[in-house]
């Protein structure tokens, strides 16, 4: 097993390398960070553009910039005053030495805004994911046990309403109902200072995310449970006289969880990216908001976020495979 994990991790290195080249090429050939740095409503002055491009290494072809991103440019001298004599060492160390570049907003290291946003995103997405999983298991198992009952029909209809509504609609609708009309929960104008502020502000975005994702998860659980409940070993367990809760939650649910684990394994790394729409609407200071704000203007931050997600995908895929083996003892890795 240990060798398997090491092999998978080593395989990830070239994968990440290729991913980084593709993302970098796309990002740095389409984004104009200088326009963002120098003004949001006007165009940058020509001399300003020239000076900042030199300072940030943006006057180089994208593949040279990629090398700077990877290994830095502190081994080069730059001619920042345009007198023909390079006099200033390059400011970058490269990601191989832990420098993800400079965010044009600040300017400050690209990892700093990520470090600030990530805990908030984990709080929001963790809460939402826990609610989704918990409710999906309850609803899915109950619907499978009471197939075609009134509850099953009601939950099916309700979950499909949630599934078919776009998240921005759910978010704005809930915002208007609970914050503007009923004034039960704070509007996005309330700053998040205390634990209470965060707790109250968490309710609507977490509910919005859960409501829209619950349908898919609960349907997965329901269909997997239905399939497992009709297996021979469940019939055997019943004929042996095992208590029903034990059959349902120990024997059936454990095996029915495999497709759910796949789904969660794919979803978890994406949680790091946050919920772009929900975070924006509720002004939640998380990764989704950071990503969308940085997309058109701050390639260093976007690159760092995407690489973080890529690494997370690799790790969570590995964890998913390991969880398979735990859930189903027949699965062995060599």
């Amino acid at each position: 097993m240990g060798r398997y994990i090491i092999r998978r991790l080593l395989q990830a290195v070239p994968q990440l390398f290729i991913i980084s080249i593709i993302i970098f090429a796309l990002l740095y050939t389409t984004v104009d960070p200088i326009a963002a740095m120098t003004g949001d409503r006007g165009k940058p002055r020509p001399e300003t553009r020239k000076r900042l491009e030199r300072k940030y290494g943006l006057d180089q072809p994208w593949f040279v910039q990629y090398i700077y991103w990877l290994v830095g440019n502190d081994w080069l001298m730059l001619d920042l005053d345009f007198d023909g004599i390079p006099e200033t060492p390059g400011p970058r160390k490269g990601i191989l030495r832990g420098d993800f570049g400079l965010s044009v907003r600040g300017p400050r290291p690209a990892l700093e805004p990520i470090g600030e946003a990530l805990p908030n995103t984990l709080l929001l997405m963790g809460t939402a994911e826990a609610a989704i999983l918990g409710l999906a298991l309850l609803i899915g198992v109950y619907s499978a046990l009471r197939q075609y009952s009134i509850f099953d029909h009601f939950v099916t209809a309700f979950s499909f309403i949630g599934y078919s509504m776009p998240i921005f609609f759910i978010a704005l609708f809930s915002l208007y109902i609970f914050s503007v009309l009923l004034r039960l929960l704070p509007s996005p104008a309330r700053p998040l200072r205390t634990t209470e502020d965060f707790a109250l502000a968490l309710i609507l975005p977490a509910l919005s995310i859960s409501f829209s994702s619950l349908a898919g998860y609960s349907r997965y659980v329901r269909s997997a449970m239905l399939e497992v409940l009709n297996q021979d070993y469940i019939r055997t367990a019943r004929s042996k006289g095992l208590p029903r809760p034990m059959i349902t939650f120990v024997h059936a649910l454990k095996n029915a969880s495999l497709p759910l684990v796949t789904l969660v394994g794919l979803d978890l790394p994406m949680l790091l990216g946050g919920a772009v729409v929900t975070e924006t609407i509720f002004a939640w200071p998380g990764m989704g908001q950071l990503f969308i704000r940085s997309l058109g203007e701050d390639p260093a931050v976007v690159m760092a976020i995407l690489m973080l997600i890529a690494v997370a995908v690799v790790i969570f895929q590995l964890l998913t495979d390991l969880t398979y083996a735990w859930l189903d003892p027949r699965i062995r890795y060599r």
Binding site: G42, L52, P107, P191, T195, A283
Partner: protein, 560 residues
């Protein structure tokens, strides 16, 4: 943390209650001397706190490092300009005793030297006096290439001297007419930042950029939580008086609809960039609308490159026909609810516009006649005019903003009625405004007509270089800002002349000629005046907002 504190309080309270129950009953009350006056609690006034909603978070708080609008307006809360502009765009001294002029000796006769006389009582929020040395330091930091400042303009045009602590002398190579709108937009505290610069050899990474605990505005910086909020408290040492408001929190709410919801819920006291369509709803919620003319006018540029531009647009009669064939008054009435006016020039509402200029009238018949006269006729009966085998078919691009899309649709319909086919294209702002080197559609001439709002960088000063011939972008000069590729020597000579005219009347006459020329030749076609629309919550009073320095009277703002 808060929950733990609550539990701790609860435990303390319970312990106190239990212990209190064990304490013997109090002895009989002692006689109170008849002369004793029962103590009265002094009422503590509730701090006056307000919440401003910004739809964009500022990128930095160092005034040298950004031109972002939301950052610039925030500087006026906690940093200081040498002077600011009221809602009539008149300048008012802040750091200086009076505005420099020829009469008071502040501007030399040749217009090349400007002298600032600083007030005696100006201090940083930590009590350190603001002196001419702070101006010299700020100037030095702007020009140092090791600092990635947003722009070196206009510091690259002058040298600065400090003959004494209260005098700042700026010496220019040429007379500099645009000084009032461009000089000293923010100041750096030398006593805080010089040691940082000496240590790091740059201010790029200074802690002060995001945590400027020392400032010179009516409020002082308290904290900034990324993507969440920034807080400012009243500056007790501000020389023009203490603000009536005790605390301002700027909350970052990136979604426009959420901003509207927050204003309606009464949780936000001030918001901006309000869409015209949201105004009636907000007014129903007792939110007042205040418009401030900030120099922005929405309009269309025509790509007039002599070789790459559409041949039809090279003829001024075709451009005039486009102006006459489109009904901008109805567009303002229908799409913008009549809440603004059609724009005639890019300098509307300023003293720089020839007062005889009126918006182009809607006259499709005259437009057709002009097109006929220019030789553009529908020879094949397909409804689109042509000439020498070239169809009068134009690509018209803008951003994805809803009101712009609607404008495009109206234009398409109205121009089709006079035989001009228009193809509509829309881009995300970052792609649309990308420069020539990044393949931006405007900068590279992919569009025959392109629409956006623009303003002179030094507003309320009108100076701009975007009509200069050497600013036409090309492979050699990709940074050029003349995206419309207009090269008119007469226009350029007038534009260069006005940069040196320090005398207001003389300069105004030149600008009247400039605006008349741009209007007559339809180098730019005005759509509507695009003021900043502010939403002011019912609690706030005494609010006036300027288009150049919005918070010029924030000392007088109060809450009910």
């Amino acid at each position: 943390m808060e929950v733990t504190r609550l539990y701790s309080l609860l435990v303390v309270f319970l312990l106190a209650a239990v212990l209190g129950a064990c304490v013997p009953p109090p002895a009989a009350p002692t006689q109170v001397p008849p002369t004793a006056v029962p103590p009265t609690a002094t009422p503590v006034p509730t701090p006056k706190k307000v919440i401003f909603i910004w739809t964009q978070e500022f990128d930095t708080l160092n005034p040298l490092y950004t031109n972002m609008w939301f950052a610039s307006i925030t500087f006026q809360i906690w940093n200081c300009w040498a002077w600011d502009f009221d809602d009539g765009l008149n300048p008012h001294p802040v750091l200086v005793k009076e505005m420099p002029s020829e009469e008071n000796g502040g501007i030399s006769a040749d217009g090349k030297t400007i002298t600032l006389k600083l007030r005696e009582d100006i201090v940083w929020s930590d009590g350190t006096p603001i002196t001419s040395e702070d101006f010299i330091f700020t100037h030095k930091m702007v020009l140092d290439p090791k600092n990635a400042v947003a722009t070196t303009y206009p510091h690259d045009l002058f040298e600065v001297e400090a003959p004494d602590a209260r005098t700042v002398v700026m010496k220019f190579q040429e007379p500099f007419a645009a000084w009032q709108g461009t000089l000293w937009h923010g100041l750096l505290p030398k006593h805080i930042l010089e040691p940082v610069y000496q240590r790091d050899d740059t201010l790029d990474n200074a802690e002060w950029n995001r945590n400027p605990t020392v400032g010179c505005g009516p409020f002082t910086f308290a904290e900034w939580k990324s993507a969440n909020y920034a807080r400012f408290v009243a500056n007790e040492k501000y020389w023009l008086g203490r603000p009536k408001i005790d605390e301002i929190t700027i909350r970052f709410v990136p979604d426009d609809a959420s901003q509207i919801a927050a204003l309606k819920a009464g949780e936000g006291d001030l918001g901006t960039f309000i869409a015209y369509t949201d105004i009636p709803d907000l007014q129903k919620a007792n939110v007042r609308m205040v418009t401030a003319f900030s120099g922005y006018n929405e309009g269309i540029y025509f790509y007039l490159h002599p070789e790459k531009g559409h041949p039809a647009l090279q003829d001024v009669r075709v451009r005039q026909a486009i102006a006459l064939a489109t009904d901008r008054a109805s567009l303002v009435q229908d799409l913008l609810l009549g809440l603004t006016k059609p724009a005639s020039t890019d300098y509307d509402n300023t003293p720089w516009v020839d007062p005889t200029i009126q918006p182009w009238p809607y006259d499709p018949e005259r437009a057709k006649a002009l097109l006929d006269e220019a030789g553009w006729k529908d020879t094949d009966g397909d409804g689109v005019r042509d000439k020498d085998g070239v169809k009068l078919e134009l690509d018209y691009g803008t951003t994805t903003r809803e009101v712009r899309r609607s404008t495009q649709a109206v234009f398409q319909q109205q121009l089709a009625a006079v035989g001009i086919k228009v193809n509509l294209l829309n881009y995300e702002p970052d792609l649309y405004f990308a420069g020539f080197g990044q393949g931006g559609p405007c900068a590279t001439g992919q569009l025959d007509m392109f629409e956006y709002s623009t303003v002179a960088a030094g507003f309320p000063d009108p100076d701009t270089s975007e009509w200069y011939c050497d600013q036409v972008p090309s492979e050699e000069t990709p940074e050029g800002s003349n995206w419309q590729a207009v090269c008119d020597p007469e226009l350029e000579s007038l534009l260069k002349l006005q940069t040196t005219q320090v005398d207001f009347k003389e300069r105004q006459q030149t600008w009247w000629k400039i605006t008349r020329m741009i209007y007559d030749k339809v180098y730019w076609l005005g759509l509507w005046q695009d003021p900043d629309i502010w939403a002011v919550g019912p609690r706030l009073k005494n609010v006036r907002l300027s288009g150049a320095t919005p918070f010029f009277n924030i000392l007088e703002w109060d809450v009910e």
